[in-house]
Point group: C2
Chain length 337, copies 2
Amino acid sequence: MSEKVVAILGATGVVGTQMLQCLEERDFPVSRLVPLASARSAGKTLTFRGEEVAIQEARPEAFEGVDIVLGAAGDDIAKALLPEAAARGAVCVDNSHAFRLDPDVPLVVPEINAGDIANHPRNIIANPNCATIIGLVPTYPLHKAAGLRRMIVSTYQAASGAGMPGLRELQRETSVLANGGEMGDTSPFAYQLAANLIPQIGSFKDEGYTSEEWKMQNEGRKIMHLPEVRVNCTCVRVPVMRSHSESITCEFDRPLTPDQAREILAAAPGVKVVDDPATLSYPMPLDTSDQDLVYVGRIRRDLSAPEGVSSLTFWCCGDQIRKGAATNAVQIAEYLV
Amino acid sequence: MSEKVVAILGATGVVGTQMLQCLEERDFPVSRLVPLASARSAGKTLTFRGEEVAIQEARPEAFEGVDIVLGAAGDDIAKALLPEAAARGAVCVDNSHAFRLDPDVPLVVPEINAGDIANHPRNIIANPNCATIIGLVPTYPLHKAAGLRRMIVSTYQAASGAGMPGLRELQRETSVLANGGEMGDTSPFAYQLAANLIPQIGSFKDEGYTSEEWKMQNEGRKIMHLPEVRVNCTCVRVPVMRSHSESITCEFDRPLTPDQAREILAAAPGVKVVDDPATLSYPMPLDTSDQDLVYVGRIRRDLSAPEGVSSLTFWCCGDQIRKGAATNAVQIAEYLV
């Protein structure tokens, strides 16, 4: 396995910082790290494997000689810079939404469709939306067993989905709640998040669904190779730091019991079954933070299913910054080396 | 409208305290208030309409001469004392779970089945579960229009559902998060609630559903007079103080568009439609706290519905202590005078 020159685009953000840590933890073969950020951060340093590395300004020329780019920037920067990197021969694994639905860009959760990685004619591979990754990691093995037909998902999404500003804002609001003071401007959230719930993530699109809600269906169809699957998603921001949770009901073509589902999930990659009512064991966002598995539990028959419809309900949690973003991207990059 | 002697059983708890306030606000015709609590509180006073009233110990004799009892105690105390009150001629409106499924006890949300109040052979009328009330207030008018067949509900339930100890514990944990210190014992919650989610409310029962989750189906069937309706509920405790929120998908026998649903709900009792993506208007628990309406929004077509199945998705929030408990009980009592 030859060592690679790896650039991180957006190296100072919450996902970029986590990507750096994942490269270290997973002992990724990096010959040289190229951290890229805005001009404001250029010249500062960050530490990688115990050594100081200078941050460079993210410009097209910075990608000269780079083998792999991990993209942790927003849509506009990704659109402007990743084609420049790709033109210079780098393969880009991009966490933004910019290229996810491009038919020439694979959209990959390695536990599901690692086989799609090889064919990347634009030299760009997209990392899916965080809530989509966390919901699909346990759903896909059930699909393989019983044929997924329909998903109804309600999410409980962490502040980290809004990046470092989201994490800092929830901390600030928590302090105001505890100690008094003015709540004031709550950006990046439209409303106070602490002690509240905000049933909007992203912007409103067709049919009254938000951009985040559409992703679960649009990205899910592409990742699972299920162009007909129907997904109803309600995305809600909750006052939790960095793990997303989801309440999911799945209808299948074929019968599937809760016991069969538990057995399938116990053997599935990237999943940990935590499902024992007797010991009050179930996934919780505090327990799933800062690790890479999606925990799944509360697996049970859907009491509302009409006669003859195979349907299960479950609850899952996963770290939004890791498996929802950075770890998934580094896993994809591992297939490239 | 003659004035009544009104007792509150459990007058010092969070629901009992709110009942007292609701009686004042709604100008309920009280000739004499009889606050009842444990022996520990007996002799202390509370203020009602500007006057000090002594708290009495909750014993059978305390119900002599009482016309109406508002029950805000737990199941065991309700079971022991309310039949004593009823035997002495009082009519009891009970917030506990003890009598809810008794066929001789009406279970009432006044906006839905006020007609059931009149027939109360045991002199007990039951107040439903809080999440059930808040979910059904907007669901029932849609049922009347289109015929409810199936509900899939994911809840986001506030700390107040665990009473005053729940409210105090979330405040304490918030302070520990903000200022440091030991998280320590988190009771009444099984796990830390601040910055976390607990996907268990009540105890585990049949098929891996919790007692709280079964209530939505069992109580919903009785309240709506729909013995066949099927309900799949996932109940989750969230770090919010006093408003429950719910993500609900309903399947109907007949077609119902989102616009029709908005029109029906705008005219429905107890409901406020807050549903305008253009102004980022949707129900949020902070906005619905300390008032009596259930707010409903995010009303949209269920993208996952199979061909030919009429299905809508929406989001609602309501104050758990008020409409979820105290206000609903006082509304029932108003039908008795």
